[in-house]
Symmetry: C2
Subunit: 197 residues, 2 copies
Amino acid sequence: MDIFVLFSGGKDSSLSAILLEPFFDVTLATCNFGFGETWKPAAKVASELGFPHEVLRIDGAILESACEIAVSDGYPNRAINHIHGCALSRAAAGHGTIADGTRRDDRVPMLKLPDAQRIEDRYGCMYVRPLLGYGRRAVDALVGDHLEIAEDESEKIDKSDYEVELRAIIKERHGAGMVHEIFPRRHLQSRVVRRKK
Amino acid sequence: MDIFVLFSGGKDSSLSAILLEPFFDVTLATCNFGFGETWKPAAKVASELGFPHEVLRIDGAILESACEIAVSDGYPNRAINHIHGCALSRAAAGHGTIADGTRRDDRVPMLKLPDAQRIEDRYGCMYVRPLLGYGRRAVDALVGDHLEIAEDESEKIDKSDYEVELRAIIKERHGAGMVHEIFPRRHLQSRVVRRKK
């Protein structure tokens, strides 16, 4: 059975792919709005993990509306959830089984159960979240078993998550100050270096 | 990493064990209150699937209180959830990582997220629900890939779930009429025959 997994190149979506691998034919897909070649770090991680990788092109108007939501809220969560819902719908329109790396204890991005069911009903697809039944400690333990992780200061890491293009469009439209206002500063960020086994 | 999986011998807990197998050392465990040798069908399925199996003895007082809840409610759901919470606590007291077969679309047994987190915090364990991110169609598809299932009329199937001893104690204390009042009649029940691959 084929499964199309939304993939940022981070720990959670990497672990999701690994958990699905024995049971599905996994293809990883990284979203891109055309605002930069932001899929490249994820494509590199996908190659390290040994999975085929695609870029999932999404209408730039969705990024525009996410930008408006983030600026209006002064906080990125609702904007990121908006992008994630649109990305899932886009994936569901073309694939029978889709997945992502959202975890039990995540707040963002995270679809509520009725919204997840609505995507399945609307597109006749199956939407699988392999980490939804795993808490933070269990995810960390499995990541430790299967992935080599490096931690660096946030600015030094090339990432492929929704935040990259969202930051870029906010910076272009509203300046760097607005970006710093909306996104709380994180000191350490992790990146997947390679698979252990 | 060892994982201790609550196991009724049904489709969902069988599939959970199969999904966990590539990543954990799985032991299956069937609850028993000493009200009958109800673990035997599950032990047989565990052997068919190729997993080690244990009986998890639980204090009969818990079955007594579940009986009272079911009779008072006239419906089994809250009683079954009460048993499941107690079974998870019992499992968590002796094992670092526990699991069960509860699915995304289940209503009973199903712990709410704060209750799941409370068990983890109280016992310092990890509580994993491998099917929580899978909807009914995805579970059915994976069951079809991995398990041979037979369907029979309810009465003909020997089962090992909580309902068996709960029905037995209600029958002993309140008569067969009360059992039929509390448990809605189901026409077809499924049982796991063997593993396909």
